[in-house]
Amino acid sequence: MSRPALLHNSGAPSRTVIQHQTAAPAGRTLLFRLPPEIPNTGSEGLLAHLTGRSWTGGDAAADAELRRRVNECAVQLALPPAAVVTDTADAAELVDDLLAVCAVLAKSSDRVYLRDKEPNLARIEPGRRVVVRLPQVLEEKQ
């Protein structure tokens, strides 16, 4: 009796699941996001929250004033001139200083925080969060 040239297995190839979770390198992770009680009220609303008084100087002046405050705050923040922005917020420390949050949101893209970048006020929006990763080597130097 002749045998078939090709022996077909009836079963599907066996599958296996690879699961792995790595740890974060030494360092700190900071989470910046607007508090939920602050609605999307633009520069005037943010200035009102920052100063405790309603802004009466108009939209353009409010933008300029918020830019000035954000730039001043960024220089004083205990952050390096550039830091990696990630989407993993595990064990991140929440920063609750409103002006610091505005500064980091305005000067961060989805990948990097740049202290000397011109602030983009449109990126200060409720619901957006920025997770900044600070390597330990840098913290030791500072």
Binding site: Q19, H20, R115, L138
Partner: protein, 256 residues
Amino acid sequence: LAARIRDSLSPTLARYVRILCALLRQADLVLSPRRAVMLLRNIAGVHAARLLNAPDADPAGSAFLALRHSLPQRATGEAVNETSVLAAHKEAWTSAGIPEDGPMHVLMAEPDPLHRALAAVRCASLGKRELSTVVSDCLAALAPDARHALAAHLFESDAAGRLVAAVAEQAAAWCAITATPQSLNETVQAGGQRHRVWKRVLSLLARLDPHDRETPPATNLLVGLFASNELMAERDPDRVLGAWQAARRDIAGAHS
């Protein structure tokens, strides 16, 4: 005339040829020292001939014409990438006109992209644009694993803050792989190529010292690259880890 041109342009031409050789080496076009001297003489000769024909002939054009006809690779049938040659010529000619004691000169003469980037980072007098140009060239020239090591160093040393936004953004994308925890959950064919590569990754990770601060970024790199399908062959994990560790040692050595 050729001798007079060689005498008067000699310092600039020598700088041009030295920088050019370093840049061509990156494009896999190696010129021997003998060939480099020959090129210098050829440039002077070509320029003399062009001056006789047109008194306003530019030395840069003569240099490029001489360069194109002085490469020995064509004689041995090796392919010569004209775009790389033109880019190297332009960059070398521009750099050769910069004062000799300028930092860009020293940098352009450094053939190794990692060492060149490290030297540029140490050079505080380089402006944002110059540093970004050097760093982005080096990142592009490096193998992927060493590229991640350089990107990590830029953010560990504050140097990323001296880069223009586009270059910092790209470096951050590479650095994020090693700086953030990686999560992998994937179904593969048991015993298949991908499964074998993963087993090789695990075998390498098992050998790393868990107390070494270099272990988490190395682990993230291997797992991150595996998850993004950048480790395809069984030897890739060894190559990547070896290059990453060598680059990290180089960087640590340069800063010790």
